[in-house]
């Protein structure tokens, strides 16, 4: 706000904010504390988590539990695959829709925009059948391909390329650059901010996707981290115990939190553009 409040209202607002922050932080801290307790102690009651002794044994156990690393690797391969695929397809198509005239362009673009309104649930059953027929389940391709179809990136890149000055391209043509070279050396480097925003959102969404990997990757070797953590949770009784499970949750959160901290600027930029 452009103004600050004074008196009792201000105190109440500060107290409410503090309470909200506590509610936000408490479950995270609780998870962290549980992950630092030995199973023997937790069996006596989870209340023991509020006091030492703490141990890193659960984390050490993760390093002996190779499935988690396999899931992590799967998540990384799938997320990076979708991200690079979306960036490449969206940039090419965005430039085509924004700058090149070809018959039916505007109609096709509107059709692609309609794709924005198609929720995954309405295509997932037919897609599952199709991938079964093509034997794509339990493969990286099977996990990556559906993510490439989302029209959002095309929409974003088309808008971005449309807003770029046409003279830059014309200057490049006069400089003897071919269409593709103009795209590659001039427009693509200039679209890096949009690529970063699109890339980070695509990466986050793929990393956290649950439904598709749940039904497509049924073989535990092909689980992504999301599905893997869910399966450990469902098989709670068979795991090494609560502390280990919570250590897994913390461990699984770390990569994405690092990505979040590094790319925070682009996330904020992307949200701002959506709000405007």
């Amino acid at each position: 706000m452009g103004q600050t409040r004074h008196g009792p209202g201000r105190i109440a607002a500060t107290a409410a904010l503090a309470l909200a922050a506590l509610i936000m932080a408490a479950p995270l801290l609780w998870t962290l504390l549980l992950s630092l307790k030995s199973n023997a102690e937790l069996l006596r009651g989870t209340g023991t988590a509020f006091a030492p002794p703490y141990t890193l044994q659960n984390y050490a156990d993760i390093f002996g539990h190779s499935a988690v690393f396999g899931w992590l690797l799967n998540s990384a391969i799938v997320s990076l695959g979708v991200t690079f695929g979306v960036l490449a397809l969206s940039s090419l198509a965005g430039y085509g829709f924004a700058r090149l005239r070809f018959p039916g362009r505007d109609v096709i673009f509107i059709l692609v925009l309609f794709g924005l309104a198609i929720p995954e649930q309405s295509v997932i059953i037919a897609r599952h059948q199709m991938f079964s027929a093509l034997s794509l389940h339990n493969t990286y391709g099977g996990l990556i391909f559906p993510g490439l179809a989302a029209p959002f990136g095309v929409f974003l890149m088309t808008q971005y390329f449309r807003a770029m000055p046409k003279e830059l391209e014309e200057a490049a043509w006069l400089d003897g650059a071919s269409r593709f070279r103009t795209f590659w050396k001039i427009l693509l480097p200039l679209s890096l901010p949009a690529q970063a925003t699109l890339g980070i959102f695509t990466f986050l969404a793929t990393w956290n996707d649950y439904w598709w990997p749940l039904i497509s990757a049924t073989n535990s070797d092909m689980y992504t981290l999301t599905v893997g953590v869910a399966s450990s949770q469902m098989n709670f009784a068979q795991t090494n115990g609560l502390g280990f499970l919570m250590a897994q949750a913390v461990f699984a959160s770390v990569p994405i939190l690092i990505v979040y901290v590094i790319f925070q600027r682009y996330i904020v930029a992307g949200v701002s553009r959506a709000a405007a």
Partner: protein
């Protein structure tokens, strides 16, 4: 002579096609084809083993008569009513409180958004350990006050509110950030003018701030309706839709029918109904944003 202009245009058309073709292929094969074939499937009695028989709208008729599906639709609407107003109001309140340049606000913004980047499986794992009556955080706190524990996830009346609470905790970051971005764009001189007019904090909020961000408020509400209608993971992992289908949402219904009972045509029909609901919400947003701008 005319042919010359046509040469150049067709060269451009060809490269245009080459730039657009890769995405268009993916779009047609992975989105349009499954959409159409999903609608086709919904008119069939089909199972996993390839047996398929055209039955017209019978699946849809069955859905309207299916108590479980009707319950799932009601549950989903109930869940949307629990989460969307709360996300909007809390998101706005946080944005108002944190819209300043102090270090403390920056840290808190990071905290409130951090849960949004976690996956649904981690969020549900965390919240299960907060909510379970046996050793959960809330149960432990109640026990220290000598109060009995509450079976949030196994009480039919509490299961959906508990899932909603988890969801609000998980999703609060996006509305907050959207409102923050909108607040940044309110012209500073409006506040200066309001201050010169002796407007107090509340008056400034009601007369300057809120009117300036009503477009964003609409966007937030519609985006959240679309997102929350797709509730799946939280219910599937935390309650399995129970007890007694009390927390069964539409998407989980589709999942159970389609991927556990393999009644594929029936699941496809349910997914088309969800599609229509979400499409209606998206259209509302489109029309509303048209009308305002």
């Amino acid at each position: 002579m005319k042919a010359r202009a046509r040469d150049a245009a067709s060269g451009e058309a060809l490269s245009g096609a080459l730039f657009v073709a890769p995405y268009l292929l993916v779009f047609l094969v992975l989105l349009v084809y499954p959409l159409v074939s999903g609608i086709w499937l919904s008119l069939h009695k089909a199972d996993l083993f390839g047996g398929s028989q055209y039955i017209g709208f019978e699946n849809y008729v069955r859905l309207f008569k299916d108590d479980v599906f009707r319950k799932a639709v009601w549950n989903t609407c109930y869940f949307v009513l629990l989460t969307v107003p709360a996300l909007t109001v809390i998101g706005l309140a946080l944005a108002l409180a944190l819209n300043n340049g102090t270090r403390r606000s920056a840290v808190l913004r990071g905290l409130f958004f951090s849960s949004s980047v976690l996956s649904v499986t981690i969020v549900t794992l965390i919240w299960r350990m907060v909510l379970v009556p046996d050793g959960g955080l809330i149960a432990d706190l109640l026990a220290s006050l000598h109060l009995p524990s509450v079976p949030f996830l196994s009480d039919a009346r509490l299961a959906m509110p508990a899932v909603a609470l988890t969801t609000i905790w998980w999703c609060i970051g996006l509305p907050m950030m959207l409102f923050l971005a909108a607040l940044q764009q309110v012209p500073k001189d409006l506040y200066e003018a309001a201050a010169l007019d002796n407007a107090g904090w509340w008056r400034t909020l009601l007369r300057v701030t809120l009117p300036s961000i009503r477009r964003t408020a609409l966007v937030v509400v519609v985006i959240e309706i679309i997102l929350q209608f797709q509730l799946f993971g939280q219910a599937q992992i935390m309650t399995l839709g129970g007890p007694n289908n009390a927390s069964l949402p539409i998407v989980l219904f589709i999942y159970q029918i389609g991927f556990q009972r393999w009644d594929i045509g029936y699941a496809a029909a349910a997914s088309e109904i969800l599609f229509c609901i979400i499409l209606a919400a998206a259209m509302t947003q489109y029309l509303a944003s048209r009308g305002r701008s």
